[in-house]
């Protein structure tokens, strides 16, 4: 059943991204999108985390304008709820980078 909602959520998020890319609300949604859909991690999050994200997004919708600090607070709230909004892994050999820098 969860996959039905995940599929629907993903499509709605992409629709929002494509139609309202420069909207501040979209910025928050994309942070959640990246946490959920990188390597299909949506399956790992709990019902309570989804509820927290739902309440957060719902609190933003009625606002006439969302300023940058509200966006930042919302993204940090997602992080506090346990959503990893920077899920992408970059493997950087730091010692190699250091020796390159030292050349």
């Amino acid at each position: 059943m969860a996959a039905v909602y995940a599929d629907n959520l993903l499509r709605e998020m992409h629709l929002l991204r494509d139609k309202y890319m420069d909207n501040p609300f979209t910025e928050v949604v994309i942070a959640l999108h990246d946490a959920l859909f990188f390597q299909n991690r949506w399956i790992d999050y709990t019902a309570n985390q989804y509820l927290q994200a739902y309440n957060l997004l719902s609190s933003l919708i009625p606002r006439e304008t969302i300023n940058n600090s509200s966006v930042e607070e919302a993204i940090l709230a997602l992080e506090n709820y346990g959503f990893n909004t920077l899920p992408f892994g970059v493997k950087l050999d730091l010692n190699q980078a250091d020796s390159e820098a030292g050349e």
Binding site: H14, E27, E72, I75, T85, L92, Q96, A97, A101
Partner: protein
């Protein structure tokens, strides 16, 4: 046994960057090490992450934005052919993950604009989390000006804010004119630096010591030449020393680099070297295969 529950953790760039950017297995390793304890950095560490990662992401943004680049694939191809260092190659790991998660078509000119927006949003979010995820010690003895360059992105026109940041961050002449790295090295910590140079002169050069010896050689040149030897390029080569010297002595410096094994003991800086990402990832793989 010593109670470590109240130990405060100060993160070197290698650990701070891993907490933001490494593979899930490595992030989980650090989560178990630090549990819910507060983690500290200072502006200089933020600057090193901006210099080694954020500025390269911004460069990629402008490669992708070029009118001569038709698609994400074109930008990746150009980047792959022209940029060879490990820090630049790291971008090639991030970009496919980010754009694939957004199901963008790498050969479609239509998806190039979407990719630019997605990347700008990611850069903005990365800078936010770098700024807010860790507590700041507010120690800023070098007064690094590059660290304070703001990144202000309006998503209606991200290129403007990104370019302004890149211009100001890249203006090393101006930044150097405002920082205090020369006083930091030549006055505040001169005695400690002379001691480090002396220690390095007596060490054999091998894989464990080479990083520290390279740093010490640069410090030696700064001691000999004076303030004119201090610039942002040189700072890149002595960053570990700056971080060790300015780290709060009451905190444990968390790192992965061998150089701190030689930098920290002479200045009485508590420190802990964590295993490399490779070692953690390989151990996880072995554990998984044992269970299979």
């Amino acid at each position: 046994m010593e109670d470590k529950s109240n130990q405060e953790h100060f993160l070197d760039t290698s650990v701070a960057r891993s907490l933001l950017l490494s593979t899930q297995a490595y992030k989980q390793y650090f989560d178990t090490q630090f549990s819910e304890q507060p983690l500290y950095i200072f502006n200089y560490v933020q600057m090193e992450i901006k210099r080694s990662y954020l500025i390269n992401l911004i460069s990629f943004y402008f490669v992708l934005r070029l009118e001569t680049i038709n698609s994400i694939g074109d930008a990746i191809a150009l980047w792959s052919n022209k940029f060879k260092t490990s820090e630049l190659k790291a971008i090639l790991q991030l970009i496919p993950q980010l754009f694939s998660t957004h199901q963008l078509n790498f050969s479609s000119p239509q998806d190039k604009e979407k990719a630019l927006s997605v990347l700008a949003i990611y850069i903005k979010r990365f800078e936010l989390i770098l700024r807010k995820k860790f507590k700041n010690t507010n120690i800023d003895s070098t007064a690094c000006t590059r660290a304070k360059v703001p990144l202000n992105i309006d998503l209606k026109n991200p290129a403007k804010g990104l370019k302004q940041f890149a211009d100001e961050f890249g203006d090393v002449k101006n930044c150097r004119s405002k920082c205090q790295i020369d006083q930091f090295l030549l006055t505040q910590y001169r005695t400690e630096i002379e001691q480090l140079v002396e220690i390095a002169s007596q060490l054999p050069k091998n894989t464990n010591t080479s990083g520290f010896i390279n740093i010490a050689n640069n410090l030696k040149e700064i001691l000999a030449t004076g303030a004119t030897a201090c610039d942002c390029k040189r700072c890149e080569k002595i960053g570990d020393a700056v971080i060790a010297l300015d780290a709060p002595r009451r905190m444990q410096l968390e790192h992965t680099d061998n150089s701190f094994d030689y930098l920290c003991p002479p200045i009485n800086q508590p420190h802990y070297k964590h295993p490399s990402e490779n070692r953690i990832v390989i151990n996880v793989s072995i554990d998984d295969s044992d269970q299979g």
